[in-house]
């Protein structure tokens, strides 16, 4: 009987062991690298295109990144050849890029073609949105509170109303950035219920406006920043309103969501984000915006 028990127990343990064993084996995925193309362009400035390559999964070391200096980057405007972009080496801490000599124009559709030896040719297209017709700013309220911990520091909270006249049909997209005393606001938030996301990688707020019959849109914004009255003048702070292309919005929104996701303890507890990609045969973003900068007295 004891022998029978022993055999039974052994059989169970053995089968359980077999059942719970993990057997690793490879899954075939495409291994070729692709171009990474990143360019956010705006009128009255030359185009800057950052070109790099994808790296193997898990090899997330900046030192392993390569930025080719021999890529052929060709720009087309409304379907016609515009220019071959010129390689500009790394300087002032910035990474190398390819730039155009001419400045971009609003309402023009730009196409790009990037050829790096060993990688497929990447292409993309984007149209610069028309400019904002009119933007007015109105300070609704200003609140100044003396900081309890740091003597002489004042926390300033401003409630601002931005009136935007936008004649575009369909959904429209905005990127708000702001600064006071040459640094970004401590906090910037939308208070009138618009669909928005605060992003960190480019500091600011992305807003999606629904399609509406009215061309007037109001954005109610609350910003806060520090002010040292003893050392600083009450100089105006700045708010930059970018009207973006859809690709600009979707890309930066997805990057922002991935960043937030990473803050929440990474992929183990979060749904991984699919980064919006409008590069054919490559990854990245080729998109445009028009900007309007406003100084706000307070």
């Amino acid at each position: 009987m004891r022998r029978c028990n022993y055999i039974l127990g052994l059989a169970i343990v053995l089968t359980l062991t077999m059942m719970s064993c993990e057997h690793d084996f490879d899954v075939d995925v495409p291994r070729s690298t692709q171009n990474v193309v990143l360019a956010n362009f705006t009128p009255d400035e030359p185009m800057k295109v950052y070109v790099s390559s994808t790296v193997p999964i898990g090899n997330v070391d900046s030192s392993s990144m390569k930025y080719p200096n021999n890529a052929d980057v060709t720009l087309y405007a409304n379907g016609a050849y515009e220019a071959d972009l010129i390689y500009t080496p790394s300087h002032d801490g910035g990474l190398p890029y390819y730039r155009s000599s001419a400045k971009m124009s609003p309402g023009v559709t730009y196409d790009i073609e990037v050829h790096v030896i060993g990688n497929p040719i990447s292409t993309s297209s984007n149209k610069i949105p028309k400019g904002l017709e009119l933007v007015t700013t109105e300070v609704v309220s200003i609140k100044e509170e003396v900081d309890d911990e740091f003597e002489g520091l004042v926390n300033v909270t401003a409630n601002i109303l931005l009136n935007v006249e936008d004649n575009t049909t369909g959904e429209s997209y905005f990127h708000l950035k702001g600064s006071a005393f040459e640094s970004a606001f401590n906090e910037m938030s939308i208070v009138n219920g618009l669909d928005h996301l605060n992003i960190l990688h480019e500091e600011g707020i992305l807003i999606k406006m629904p399609d509406s019959n009215s061309s007037n849109t109001s954005i109610q914004l609350e910003v806060s920043f520090y002010h040292f009255p003893e050392f600083e003048l009450r100089i105006p702070f700045e708010i930059e309103i970018r009207k973006c292309s859809r690709d600009y919005y979707l890309f930066h929104r997805s990057v922002g969501e991935q960043e937030l996701s990473n803050f929440r303890d990474g992929l183990l507890s979060s749904q991984s984000v699919q980064i919006h990609n409008n590069i054919v045969d490559g990854v990245g973003n080729f998109s445009s915006y028009v900007a309007s900068i406003h100084s706000v007295e307070w």
Binding site: V13, M19, K48, Y50, G94, S270, V273
Partner: protein, 892 residues
Amino acid sequence: MFFENVKINLKLTRQRVKKALNCVLLVLSFSACLNAQNNLSATIDFQVSNLTLADALWELSEITNIPMTYSDNDLPKGISSYSFKSKSIRYILSKMLDETNLDFNFVDNQIVIFRSKSYQVSGYVEDLSSGERLIGASVYNAGSDQGTVTNIYGFYSINVDVTSPDLRISYIGYESKTFDTSLKKRENLILQLTPNLTIEEVVVTERSNFDSNSYAGFFSDQNLSGEIQKMPALGGELDYMRLLQQMPGVQSGTDGLGGLYVRGGNADQNLVMLDGVPIYNPYHALGLVSIFDEQVIKKVTYYRGQFPSRYGGMISSVVDVRTKEGNNKEYKFSAGIGLIATKAKAEGPIANGKGSFLVSARRTHLDPFLRSYSKKKRMEDGDSGFYDYSFGEVVAKANYSITPRVKTFLSFYRGKDDYQNELRIDEEDAGFLYEEEENQELGWGNTVAAIRLNYQITDKLFSNFTSTYSRFFFQSDENRYFKFQDGLDFEDVARYKETFLSNITNSAFKIDLDYVPNSSHYIRTGIEYSHNVFRPGVLATQDSSFFTFDEIKDELRSAKGNEVNEVNAYVEDEWLIHKNLGMNVGLYSSFFFTEDKNYLLLDPRITVNWQMSKPFSFHFSANKVNQPLHLLTRSGSGFPNDLWVPATQNVKPQEAWIFDIESRVRLNTAWKMEIHAYFKKMNNLINYIDGADFTSSGTSISAFNWEDKVTVGQGQSQGIEFLVKKEKGKYQGWVSYTLSETTRQFDDLNDGETFPFRFDLRHVLSIVGAIDLTEKWSVNGSWNYRSGSNINLAYSDWQYIRQDGTPDIFFFDLQDRNSFKLPSYHRLDLAAKYQKSSDWGKWSLNLGVYNVYNQRNIFYVRPEFDPITQIQKYKSTSLIALLPYFSFNIEI
């Protein structure tokens, strides 16, 4: 006309009056409401003894002063006595003519009695040996060419031709039998069948429109009860949910994990019911084994597209599991042991067979071995601790017949899974000391209870009153402790505690009525009130000592859940329009009251059944179905920590339109073939948005903001399904094949572009076969093949460069959603069974091998990078390799 063959006797003779004087006549009173118009509704007292029916009718005519017309030749000659008090004339007449093949009508102020062409017979179909009532047994009268099947309580009601009073009863696993109903009482007629060990599976009746193996030919449901024995059993556990995976239109995750995906639906869209009570997670061991223990299951019926209107609330399939009621003839005991679990069952009669009871239990026995094995393994790794896992369940049932027409039922189910993990790590090196302790406890399970009362109101009207309770819970507790000392003065100690609670509770009261007004209609109707409480997941964490952990847990436990009330009603009619044309038309409606929004959901359903020729039938159905519940699932896997949530103002109930065209071919008594083509459109599906976190942290209830984490979209599925089945003979089995395409579209996912569903498995093939070698030996096997499932996969990483030119974070280069197709899944299982009967009982031994050729089917995939070779790889893990198993069962 009714009167063609009736000889009219206008005047009662004086001789009959004299004859009547020899009898006792007592007329107690007339009802005040009896008037000159001879109202048959008037109530009287009427009592006569030892009279022929003709004389008794004469007396009734005299008392009521209503002339009666009939033919002497039609009346039976036997002597009877009748006694009625305060009964209507109509009632008295119907009782006097009961079981006579006579009917009556009120025409021109007189009662005309005539020979009827048919009569109604009602009652139950039972197992002769156990008294167990049989669900879905076919009842067929060749004379009237009428057929029906017993309902879920074994009840039938059928119109029988007087010239051919035989009823043919057949049921899977029983010997078909013919009963002559002409000499029997016609109400509460119990028809008993004898189990047939050689299994005569299907009887095809002469009635072309009547297929005894399906629901009167109307619905393409699958009765799985007879099929389970043809399947190899994983670990020795025969499992109906695994059997379902062999059926057309059904897909599942690797090795059966992850629930059922029916015709492109999600795992949460299946209405799984245990004795009519909804079950919210019908699995043990994360889906490896279902909670339905085969030893207590009486019948499992599965619908995947043609839904009868009596089912509602889920949009992809219905799995209706009915358990046995217990043997009311003799006491029986059975027990079994297999690789995974040990089980036992006892049943027997109550009150001299007026009722019965059944108690069963099942429990895994792997935990001591798991604990021992894991302890040893961790010691080898230099750590200490263990892990173990177990599940167990108990089923208790009792029933009692108060009268032949009234029967009560009690049922209870309780099942629970437990997982425990303890780990302690002590490391000391050069004066540095590191200690870590981790303790995890997970528990989840279902509790189900029901009280039921059957009341056969008339031979045409059957009622059922049910009160039910169902609860699914999940709880996870985790404690962690870290301590670090640098050998000098520095010491860092951290404690971390977390608990997660989630449950859904459903209480309901329901009334169902089955009404058979005539041979052309079978009407079902019912109403239900249901109260649901959702606690969609609460998480408490503590990494300091502001509060005690118990205080936080108490706060969570006492937190008010999200309460939802439902009032559901249905009506459906099975309408036999013509001998070869039938229709089931119905409506299921639901009033769904949430805290912020009320919904009225209407589900119209229609199924048309056309018998083109004897072997060929054609079926069409169009169904609208609504589902007011959603499941928040991280992986679509049906794991117990997935969260059930109700529809809200922003997240509407799921809905689907399902169109199904089917052709059935009955080649002969053994072979049949089914071909389906379907189209299914689903709206208001939910999915986590990109970047959504699956948890909410903090010391307060904070998981109720789930609406912010999901996006709403739609799905579409279309496909063709084939089933070829041999149901009789030494060799039995089936081949099922599904060719389908399923997509999803969410505005906020995949740039709004349509993408493949994760379980969009283009080809799914199952081959199942069983051979009876001898009376004692049988073998069976199954081979499954399906296209690989679709997953999100990144082929590489890339780095974001900010607009100012500085490098930023790395991203996965995730391809389009679900664009990577995993390799195909395939697996062969084989089993053999030896069974022997003797005077004291019977026993059986099952031996089998799961995954015979050790196919490494992918369970999950993870990225891996070799820094030396600089080569990226994805490594995948398989779950169950070749697994031999056994089970031994005994019954006395």
